[in-house]
């Protein structure tokens, strides 16, 4: 029996250690949960306040719960020629940007797929670099560049800038889509008599279609959203909606901005849902990008 005593001590010790461990685990779980909660509040609270402000009937920035609700700011937006002009430019720009960025992204991704991995990775880093350069820097650099090269059309200037900043998203999604296509499919197509070009259009492209569509939607949303680059490239006659809002913010602040913000956020959400429905968001952002 005496031999069993140290064993019992050991098991009690083990139980105590296990309890301490559990307590630490619970604490960690609580901390992570708290952080997630805080982030959600931090991200969503401004949105919620904007939303409530956009329906506020008062003329000024009042205290939080609005005393009365109305649609007056939405009405004002839809009857304001200045803002509507910006909206039209923004939509035209976003559509054309989506088309161009996706086309260029598709070509670049196809070329990257065929390069040796080392060079491809280097080039991908270059292509994705607009993501890490601040928009203000891109906008200013483009302004100087356009002035020197004599690109006069404001719309062309804006389009160039928007393609530059949305192209990384297009290339990522197309690369992810191409990466999901087994090389053996294209090889079989060729062995059956399809030239590389025909194999591309009959096999590769149909299989990458959702990725390409996703890239286009991404480009559209980010183009619609941009302020930093557009503000450098707009002029009083040709400007995007976000730029119009910023200048309105300086001139005469009223809650139309909140209403427009809600509309932009709403349409972005709608497009993202469409994207998720078309392709699956996790796939679009490159879940199978790192294939083996």
């Amino acid at each position: 029996m005496t031999a069993a005593r140290p064993a019992r001590d050991a098991s009690a010790d083990l139980r105590r250690r296990r309890q301490r461990q559990r307590f630490a685990d619970d604490l960690a779980r609580l901390a992570v949960g708290g952080m997630i909660g805080a982030s959600i509040v931090f991200l969503l609270l401004p949105l919620a306040i904007t939303l409530s402000m956009s329906f506020d009937a008062r003329d000024y920035l009042g205290t939080f719960p609005p005393t009365e609700l109305s649609l007056r700011w939405y009405e004002k937006f839809f009857s304001d020629p200045y803002l509507l002009k910006g909206l039209r430019t923004s939509l035209q720009l976003a559509a054309l940007t989506a088309l161009s960025a996706t086309a260029i992204g598709l070509c670049a991704a196809v070329a990257l797929e065929r390069l040796p991995v080392r060079y491809a990775q280097l080039l991908i880093a270059v292509f994705l670099s607009p993501l890490i350069v601040p928009g203000v820097v891109i906008g200013f650099a483009l302004l100087v560049f356009y002035a020197r090269t004599g690109v006069d059309s404001t719309f062309a200037r804006l389009l160039g800038g928007h393609v530059l900043i949305t192209f990384p998203y297009a290339i990522r999604t197309v690369l992810a889509a191409l990466g999901g296509i087994r090389p053996s499919l294209v090889e079989v197509a060729q062995s059956l008599g399809a030239s590389p070009t025909r194999a591309f259009w009959s096999v590769t492209f149909p299989l990458a279609r959702t990725g390409v569509a996703a890239g286009a939607i991404f480009a559209f949303v980010f183009s619609l959203d941009d302020v930093a680059v557009s503000i450098f490239l707009s002029d009083p006659d040709r400007y995007t909606l976000p730029v119009a809002l910023v200048s309105m913010l300086h001139a005469n602040f009223d809650l139309t901005i909140a209403a427009v913000a809600v509309l932009i956020v709403g349409s972005s959400i709608a497009l993202m849902l469409l994207l998720d429905w078309v392709a699956g968001l996790d796939r679009v952002v490159g879940a199978n990008y790192y294939r083996t």
């Binding site: 087994r182 053996s184 090889e187 060729q190 059956l192 399809a194 030239s195 590389p196 194999a199």
Partner: protein, 359 residues
């Protein structure tokens, strides 16, 4: 001999400074089924890709139907490819998959539809035309891939590990079916595989490759019975080995062979006395014998203790450790014989004719 359909002459390929294929030559006659057999990385897949045109050989020539394939692109060659993953086009139906090659070649709609029906009948997939590949079983997908490749009547069919994506039981069934389909269509076929059973059961002739070199070419029986080297013997079937020196001639065509496990009688060779050689004995040629073997038969005998036994149903595998520490595997047919206990002393006998001498 007739003009071979596929002929490789002194083909070599290196990746960087690593040779993948070295001086490979072989030919496939019309209607023949040939298997390239070897472990992964032996160069067999590179060889297949060179024939299909996806890889250019550094040296040597590849001829298909008497035509030199230098600078001929994959889509300009007339080969049928079946990949290990079948590579069916997921966005097309079974019918559209089979019709793909025919469409690339052009031709009347009616003729294409007729050919597609014929091919689906050949692979027993009538009524599957409207389906998508995703819903099909592995075996069905493989047959679609076969039909798609054969639809364009390729000069040569190339099958890359055609059965290894399937589980063991299905593999046996499909091996038989695949052989029938290939025979029915009289396809000239090259199969690339690492599975010796697949190669032996499907092919008229086997080419054993390792480290980018052809080790031996011959029928399954010839390669199994007279492997030219230890590598071939080990790759085709299982083998027990004894190292030793060749001794005196005992009788006409019989020589003494002296090993650490005792001296054996082996089929005579012309090599000089004292030559260091290896003797291979296939596991199924070893017999567990009684203490006093019948004297009429001239048997080589080794003794050892049974280390483990595996009862596999139709066969029983005995692992026997000899006094020298050498491990020997003996495979017996299951005839409901008494099973020796692990640790028992066993005598294993084998005939001189069962000894394969290799360098």
């Amino acid at each position: 001999m007739a003009q071979p359909v596929l002929e490789l002459q002194h083909v070599s390929k290196r990746y960087g400074d690593k040779p993948a294929v070295r001086d490979v030559s072989f030919s496939v006659q019309s209607g023949q089924v040939l298997a390239l057999l070897g472990p992964s990385g032996c160069g067999k897949t590179t060889t297949l890709r060179m024939i299909a045109g996806f890889v250019d050989p550094d040296e040597g020539s590849i001829e298909i139907g008497g035509r030199d394939m230098r600078d001929v692109r994959p889509h300009e060659r007339n080969v049928g490819l079946v990949f290990q993953d079948y590579a069916l086009f997921p966005h097309l139906t079974v019918e559209q998959n089979v019709a793909y090659g025919l469409r690339q070649r052009g031709g009347a709609k009616g003729a294409i539809a007729k050919r597609v029906r014929e091919m689906l009948a050949l692979v027993h997939l009538e009524g599957f035309g409207e389906r998508r590949p995703v819903g099909l079983s592995g075996g069905q997908q493989q047959r679609v891939a076969l039909a798609r490749a054969m639809a364009v009547t390729p000069e040569v069919m190339l099958l890359d590990e055609p059965l290894s994506a399937l589980d063991a039981k299905l593999r046996q069934e499909l091996r038989f079916e695949l052989k029938q389909i290939l025979q029915a269509a009289r396809c000239t076929t090259l199969i690339v595989t690492h599975d010796q059973e697949e190669a032996m059961s499907l092919a008229d002739e086997i080419i054993v490759m390792d480290h980018g070199v052809v080790l031996q070419q011959g029928s399954a029986a010839a390669v199994y019975r007279t492997p030219r080297s230890r590598a071939v013997a080990e790759f085709i079937g299982r083998a027990n080995w004894f190292e030793g020196r060749l001794g005196v001639e005992l009788a006409a065509g019989l020589r003494e062979f002296v090993t650490a496990e005792g001296s054996f009688v082996v089929p005579g060779g012309s090599a000089v006395e004292g030559t260091v050689l290896q003797v291979c004995v296939r596991p199924e040629r070893l017999r567990i014998i009684a203490a006093d073997p019948p004297s009429a038969e001239r048997l080589n005998v080794v003794e050892g203790t049974l280390a483990s036994a595996a009862y596999l149903g139709s066969e029983i595998h005995h692992v026997v450790v000899l006094a020298t520490g050498r491990t020997i595997v003996c495979v017996e047919q299951n005839r409901d014989q008494a099973l020796p206990a692990v640790g028992a002393l066993l005598r294993l006998g084998f005939r001189p004719a069962d000894c394969i001498l290799t360098a």
